[in-house]
């Protein structure tokens, strides 16, 4: 018999996370407190009107919160508290609305940027990148300038770049919003399939109900004041196993 609840050992856990605006005098709370659990391979969706602090929540998790904001509470990834770590040491991947491929690097250059340095040797690195491209049916694009790719292709490369960095959790900041409807469904499936296959706890913020429906996981709503009606969604979303 174990005294440790195993469900807390794996996945992404937010514990009483709050975000406040640093203001002279007193801080003004803009979000939270939020507590939730994202088990491995599951997609939790956070929905809310624009400006409610959804993106700031993701920034807090990956450690890039704007200096004008302050965060409190704990972020646990696979049982470790990562709240105090610099972003590059958190192993949290993020995708934005824009693909943000580096325009000065080729497709392969972008993917190599994501690939950890621990994979050594030109050949080994090339093979990993080619394997990732082949899996996305994009092997022929190895040497291409990202500017010559279509929106859907760029979005897929951005996901591959993130996955190659071997993240332990995936954050999605409305990455489907700028794609047209047909493309959106396909890319959404592409992202969710990969996230599930790699067992990544995934947190999606969006205001598109279809995103949430496709994600299939628990859903929580933030209102304009940054409150989350309905208590702790982690209780509802948590599935032991």
């Amino acid at each position: 018999m174990s005294v440790i609840d195993l469900s807390h050992e794996h996945g992404l856990t937010l514990s009483r996370v709050e975000i406040a605006l640093r203001a002279p005098g007193r801080a003004r709370r803009i979000l939270g407190p939020v507590s939730l659990e994202v088990p491995p391979g599951e997609v939790v969706t956070v929905m809310g009107p624009s400006g409610c602090g959804k993106s700031s929540l993701l920034a807090l998790i990956c450690g890039t919160l704007a200096p004008a904001l302050s965060g409190s509470g704990r972020v646990l990834l696979n049982g470790e508290d990562i709240s105090a770590r610099p972003p590059e040491a958190r192993h949290v991947g993020i995708l934005f609305q824009d693909d943000l491929l580096f325009p000065h690097l080729s497709v392969a250059g972008n993917l190599a940027f994501g690939l950890p340095a621990s994979i050594r040797g030109r050949r080994a690195r090339r093979e990993r990148i080619e394997a990732a491209l082949a899996e996305a049916d994009m092997l022929a694009f190895y040497d291409r300038d990202p500017a010559t790719l279509s929106g859907g292709q760029r979005a897929r490369i951005a996901l591959l770049r993130t996955l190659l960095s071997e993240p332990r959790a995936l954050l999605l900041d409305e990455p489907f919003a700028k794609l047209d409807v047909a493309l959106r469904a396909r890319f959404r499936a592409f992202v969710f399939d990969h996230a599930r296959a790699q067992g990544l706890p995934t947190l999606l913020v969006t205001h598109d109900p279809q995103d949430a429906a496709d994600a299939g996981g628990p859903r929580l709503q933030i209102d304009a004041e940054g409150h989350i009606p309905g208590g702790r969604p982690a209780d509802r979303g948590h599935r032991p196993g």
Partner: protein
Amino acid sequence: MPRHGLLATLPALTLALFLAPVVAGLIGTWLPAFGYFPSLGGDGFTLAPWAKLFAQPGLGESLRLTVLSGFLATLITFLLTILLLAACHGGRLILALRGLMAPLIAVPHAAVALGLAFLIAPSGWLARLVSPWATGWELPPDVAILQDPNGLALTLGLVIKELPFLLLMTLAALEQVRAEERLAVARSLGYGPVSAWLKAVLPAVYRQIRLPLYAVLAYALSVVDMALILAPLAPPPLAVQVLRWFNDPDLSMRFVAAAGASLQLLVVAGGISLWRIGEIVVERIGRAWIAGGRRGGDGRIARVLTTGLVMTAVGFAAAGLVSLALWSVTRRWRYPDALPSEISLDNWARHAPEAAAITSTTLAAGLAAAAVALVLVLGCLENEQRRGLTLTNRALWLLYTPLLVPQVAFLFGTQVLAIQAGIDATWAALVWSHLLFVLPYVFLTLGDSYRALDERYARTALCLGARPNRVFWQVKLPMLLRPVLFALAVGFAVSVTQYLPTLFAGGGRFVTLTTEAVGLAAGGDRRVIGVYAFLQALLPLLAFAAALALPRLLVGPALRRKLRPAAA
């Protein structure tokens, strides 16, 4: 935090590097102005230097010249800038001008002044082009067009040189105040183009260009190199007179010079205060004018007028440069022929060895100052971003300090300190003195582009596991290659243009193209002046050309390879 260690000290270091010499130099000038200068026997405080200063013959006339040309030049430059932009907003002309202005900013003041002198002198190119068929002049007319008693030639030179600077600063400011939306609203309410711009855009833009405008005023009130070429010299404008006193063989004149330099500072401070009062008055009148609701006409007259005047100014600058080039290859050019009758490279050949040496000094000082400035500015901007700091308005004032304080008002004090520190007339002193003026421009040039880079690129890279230093070198720097090279070129151009700092910090040991060209101006041998002034103008232009071409050369082949269509 340890992650910020070295980087976090950079802003303080940078500030100290370019503010300490100014502050120390001011103190080192004000003390002798009140009689304290032990090495020349001044041990106590006295008002004697000021009494002697005010007893100098011609001081009143010097002041009159300074104030007249300074205010007139600034006012004309400002009015031309805003009226041109109001009348031609969004037009093709503005786009064309933007392309023309960038190289014009690069041309040093002295080269512009010399070119203008070659153009408008009684024996200049303009007179030759219309003589004798239109004027009947077989000999140069005996009128004081250059060095005229009211300093109008100097005023014209200042307008030609400062117009591109203020225009580009205003164009940059327009992007920040969402001018298009403001204009669209005003136009849809029935306002004519010029009225709409002046009433809806100018109030917002003015706040953004206030500091550059003050810098123009401060410069115009204290210019030395252009004044040596274009202004009357008996008596000259105040700044030139102060320089003469500093160079007087009678060492006791240093006290008068220090008092004069301090007076120069007061003139600039008073000038800026007066301008500020003018702003308040105009703002009050302007409010009533805006509230009046008059819609204004279609602005056709303003368009024709401002376009004509600005094109004339640009034309003068360009024609001046051409006449410099022409004189440098002239063997024989009799008055009033329109063109030289014999052309040769003799002038260049004769001066080649000396010109090469002077050019290398100029190059070395410019590259060193620009490179040091770039490293410091990049460090400050990166530190600012990592720590989430933003440049406050007050910090911006600090940045402008070396551009607002007249050079002649503190360089003497700085030189005295350099002598005490044993670094006067060394490369270090020369580069440092240029750095004071290079740094602000490099910061102003690079700051906006650096902050404009989408910060999510850096966030993405961090989340991919890259350390902040790797993000800086592999993401930000390559993406900012163009603005970085451009800032380097700006820094180099600013260094080339420096006259007084080279004289003072160089201690006479260093001759640059600028000091040589200005020094030769008094002699009046147009062939030699042509050689040096043309080189002086050419060097910064080449730097800008390189800054534009290099990214293409560096990125070109790699990009072409990547653009190869994928095999099907």
